[in-house]
């Protein structure tokens, strides 16, 4: 259709009616919860994460009240342990990380001019997993069963079942479940940024928020899986007595600390970067000019992401590692100050060069930078090992981390809240209440946390439920407590402001006169996301492109219609955003919620040692996933192409590396491979900790024969899958099916072959860390072989059912990606357990 067609108002009205029907949210008391549209799921996500923040804040207030005066007895030591553990865990796992995912799920499609992210049902699944796991973990404190070992859960305190109760299992399994939803969000966001940009939005025109989200989502892929690997080892020790962290049986508690902090330090930047990303959107708006130094922000985001993986040992300076190791991590910790400072300077320079409008969001932004810089400077101090030895486990560290997190995460989010509230609700928040809240939070944060620097240096230890009067720290502690209540008052004012919002008048569209795409959102709150998908020629199209808003609204750009009654968006190429295809998006469905429930059952039932019901729940999860995939993915369209306007026709089906599904599989498997490398790290870590590893009496186990046989079977499955993919693409359907059947058989046989090694050599996993880690690597690889078998059977079934043909072969191409990673896993695992004992 040409530009000309869109001049007809009747045509436009008909298009709008079709779009409205297609994107209409499901109605009804129960049905409304099946929605998958990003604005709906994003709102639930934000509200839930905000509620968890308030909950964790109340826990903090109880702690501060207990510490207000010396020798207080408001709560006992046991409760206090639960309070600080849950406060830290909830703020990190149930507020900071999910909040970034939630905000991105709302904003990203708008910023990218997409109707939705590529996998809306995956977002919904992530949300339900998060809600279920979050309520499970948080609720435990009402039953006096909350985790109480600190948010980092150091063994042996937490792995010995005589020293810690159910709380440790609740932490480990409940939060593992949340980690699943984080990885799901990472997949969604990476594919969204790389493949769902509007035509013309090349990498150099991408909104900086999208750059930050891309970087942070990639960080999640490398940061969360080591923790998942740690969780696996941890629960194996707690539930099955496999001694990974028990020094008396060849284990080492430091292994947990490594795995935890390989996650834990990047985590700090995972919650900091997306919040600072909000500044990159609002600073240009209020400076009324383009952001200066665009590539410098990219340097800052990418540079911080890399360096943040070289910092983890600075949490372990006091564990007695060789000083040379501490030196490396100290150096990297100092180096990360460079990119962090660069982005702050970019914001300052942009404000300096612009004509600043002093709005409430900008007030939060500048105030938070001030607080963040103080936290950053104390960070430079504690990054020096000798200083850290003095400050370790004192209130100085608490002061540092709260300055960083309040200045780097909480207050930027409040800035974003005031900035984007009109985008989501069509109504502005109150400037008067917003500024009052700002000053309460700003003054309160300094009053609460600045004295902690001093009390820490004077010897106030962390995680102690009370302190004697003659320590002389009563005054400083009282000041901190008063400060904490002032912060709470500020947050209460914000909550009041939000609660009054429904009665406020509507604000005009784009109330801040911003230049970026997200402000195309309609105040009337249409659900279709964007009326037509624009051609982008500038970083600030609303400012720079002539008649931009009118053209979008009149459907003069791409995909202005939904003729076939399907939810759709455009897929473009990674570097230059050239249109590649139109994809059909998932419509509202019960499947994401039911799958989350089933998966939640696995984790929650295992917590209570109900293994048979947990197994049942696991089987139900697998069935749900297969049903979801079978009915909702790689659908063969009713016609090969469709017009998207301006004489362009795009295919409705793509496979291989151009398609979002291929990328999703690749990204998921990157996370999987990272978790596996965490387990392999465990094996070699034990090797460095022992004179002889494997121990001499077990040196011949598991032998070479079985591991290498299992490896051969795994590689055979991999090669036949590749062969099947190639033969299939050339039309050899029958041959491809035969090859798939052969690959299926080798994968199935690979499972007992892999387990036979440790089994026949009589390795007892409870005896020593060596058999325990060998069994773990073996079981991990065999599970992957089993999943390979399921996938190959699935592809075979798709082919037999006529849902996969040589020209519609996304299924086999995606499974081939899985098989590449499976082959890598098999090579590393079986070479390690089968060959390394020969050379060690």
């Amino acid at each position: 259709m040409s530009l000309h067609d869109q001049d007809d108002p009747a045509l436009r009205a008909a298009q709008e009616q079709r779009l409205r029907e297609v994107w209409a949210p499901p109605k009804g008391l129960f049905l409304r919860w099946t929605d998958t549209n990003n604005n709906q799921v994003g709102n639930w996500y934000v509200l839930t994460a905000f509620a968890f923040m308030l909950f964790a804040g109340v826990l903090a207030l109880i702690m501060r009240t207990q510490l207000a005066v010396p020798d207080n007895d408001l709560v006992g030591p046991g409760t206090f342990n639960q309070l600080f553990t849950l406060h830290g865990s909830v703020m990190m796992f149930l507020f900071a990380v999910p909040m970034f995912e939630a905000v991105s799920i709302i904003l990203l499609p708008q910023l990218l001019g997409a109707r939705d992210l590529p996998f809306p049902r995956l977002s919904a699944f992530g949300y339900w997993s998060f809600l279920l796991g979050g309520v499970f973990v948080s609720g435990s404190i009402f039953f006096d069963a909350a985790p109480d070992g600190g948010w980092f859960m150091y063994p042996p305190l937490t792995t010995r079942t005589d020293l810690s109760g159910l709380g440790a299992d609740i932490w480990m399994l409940g939060l593992s479940f949340i980690e699943v939803s984080s990885v799901a969000a990472a997949v969604e966001l990476i594919v969204g940024v790389l493949k769902c940009r509007p035509p013309g939005m090349r990498l150099n025109l991408m909104p900086l928020y999208a750059w930050y989200i891309l970087v942070v989502a990639v960080m999640i892929l490398f940061a969360f899986p080591p923790l998942i690997a740690g969780d696996v080892l941890f629960e194996m020790e707690r539930l099955l007595d496999w001694p990974f962290f028990d020094a008396s049986r060849g284990g080492d508690p430091l292994l947990w600390q490594h795995l935890f902090w390989i996650f834990g330090h990047p985590e700090v930047y995972i919650v900091f970067l997306p919040s600072i990303a909000l500044f990159a959107m609002l600073v240009p708006t209020f400076a009324r000019r383009h952001l200066l130094g665009y590539p410098w922000i990219v340097l800052a985001a990418v540079g911080t992401a890399f360096l943040s993986f070289g910092l983890w040992v600075h949490h372990m300076f006091a564990t007695g590692l060789p000083k040379i190791s501490l030196g490396f991590f100290s150096a990297a910790s100092e180096a990360v100050a460079i990119p962090t400072a660069v982005q702050i300077f970019v914001f300052i320079v942009t404000l300096w060069a612009g004509r600043v409008v002093w709005s409430t969001p900008l007030l939060y932004a500048t105030g938070s930078l001030a607080i963040f810089v103080i936290g950053g400077l104390t960070g430079v101090m504690v990054a020096l090992a000798p200083f850290d030895w003095q400050a370790h486990d004192t209130y100085f560290v608490i002061a540092h981390l709260h300055y960083v997190l309040i200045g780097g995460t909480l207050m930027p989010l409040f800035a974003g809240l005031y900035y984007y509230w009109p985008l989501v609700t069509g109504k502005k928040l109150s400037d008067r209440l917003g500024r009052t809240a700002f000053w309460l939070v700003f003054v309160g944060a300094n009053l609460c946390f600045f004295p902690m620097h001093l009390s820490g240096l004077e010897g106030m230890p962390r995680r102690v439920f009370t302190y004697p009067a003659d320590l002389g720290l009563g005054g400083l502690n009282l000041a901190s407590t008063i400060g904490s209540f002032v912060i709470a008052a500020g947050v209460a004012v914000i909550v009041l402001d939000l609660a009054r919002s429904p009665w406020r008048p509507r604000s005009p569209r784009n109330p801040w006169q911003a230049g970026t795409l997200e402000w195309l959102a309609h105040p009337e709150d249409e659900n279709w996301g964007i009326r037509s998908i624009p051609l982008i020629e500038s970083r600030y199209p609303i400012w720079d492109q002539e008649d931009f808003v009118r053209k979008v609204d009149e459907g003069r750009y791409f995909l202005p219609d939904a003729e076939e009654g399907r939810r759709e968006t455009i897929i473009t190429s990674v570097l230059d955003a050239r249109p590649v295809s139109v994809i059909r998006l998932g419509a509202p469905s019960w499947k994401p919620m039911l799958t989350a429930l089933a998966l939640g059952g696995v984790f929650i039932l295992t917590t209570y040692h109900l293994y048979w019901p947990a197994l049942l729940s696991g089987t139900a999860t697998l069935a749900m996933v297969l049903w979801w995939l079978w009915t909702g993915t790689a659908e063969i369209p009713e016609k090969p192409c469709k017009p998207i306007g301006h004489g362009m026709e795009l295919p409705l089906y793509i496979s291989g590396s151009a398609s979002p599904g291929w990328w999703a599989m690749f990204i998921t498997m990157m996370a999987d491979a990272t978790a596996f490398s965490g387990l392999v790290f465990g094996y070699f870590f034990f090797w460095t900790r022992h004179e002889a590893f494997p121990p001499p009496e077990m040196a011949s186990a598991p032998g070479m024969v079985w591991p290498l046989s299992a490896l051969a079977l795994g590689l055979a499955g991999w090669l036949t899958t590749i062969a099947a993919r190639e033969v299939h693409a050339r039309g050899g359907v029958g041959m491809a099916r035969a090859l798939l059947l052969f690959g299926l058989a080798t994968s199935i046989v690979g499972v007992p072959a892999g387990l036979a090694g440790p089994w026949f050599s009589g390795m007892d996993p409870t005896a020593h860390s060596y058999p325990a880690i060998v069994w773990t690597l073996t079981i991990w690889t065999c599970l992957h072989a089993a999943v390979a078998a399921i996938m190959l059977a699935y592809v075979l079934a798709r082919s037999l059912a006529g849902r996969m043909t040589p020209s519609h072969d996304a299924d086999i191409r995606n499974v081939a990606v899985y098989m590449h990673f499976f082959a890598l896993t098999a090579v590393v695992a079986y070479a390690t357990i089968g060959l390394f004992p020969e050379v060690a």
Binding site: G200, M201, R202, L203, N204, L205, H290, Y294, P295, W296, V298, L299, V302, G303, A305, F306, L307, F309, G310, L321, P322, K323, I324, S325, G327, F328, F329, S330, A331, A332, E334, A335, I338, P339, I536, E537, S538, R539, V574, L575, D576, T688, R689
Partner: protein
């Protein structure tokens, strides 16, 4: 400027993968340095008086980063309109990626030097 006249370093394809070459070199060097020290200390209790392997690795990493930065620098100089490179054109996208790569090369170079410093000052495994 047509493709035929471009030198080899100007013809290289700039992508998201080449953008992360310098910091990836930093991380490989960092991991190598950490493992070298940790394994030496754990298994033998000391590391070499003059660490030939470590020095060679560091020089190699610095050279790789410098090369990547130099290529990026040359590509930022390809002819086109003046900065800022914020047009929706091939050349602006290329120069943006090249500029970002150059900046990352600078940071990574400093990062590798930082990592090398402890070995200069700390001589044993205590």
């Amino acid at each position: 400027m047509s493709d035929e006249k471009r030198k080899w370093h100007e013809r290289l394809q700039v992508t998201l993968w080449t953008l992360i070459v310098p910091p990836t070199v930093w991380s490989v060097h960092f991991l190598f340095a950490y493992l070298w020290a940790a394994v030496s200390c754990a298994k033998t209790g000391f590391f070499a008086e003059f660490p030939t392997l470590f020095t060679a690795g560091t020089v190699l990493a610095l050279a790789a980063i410098a090369l990547s930065g130099w290529i990026a620098h040359r590509q930022t100089r390809l002819r086109g309109d003046p900065p800022p490179h914020e047009q929706g054109t091939d050349i602006d996208r290329l120069r943006f990626l090249a500029k970002s790569t150059l900046l990352l090369a600078g940071l990574s170079f400093v990062g590798v030097l930082f990592t090398a410093l402890p070995v200069v000052f700390i001589g044993d495994c205590r």
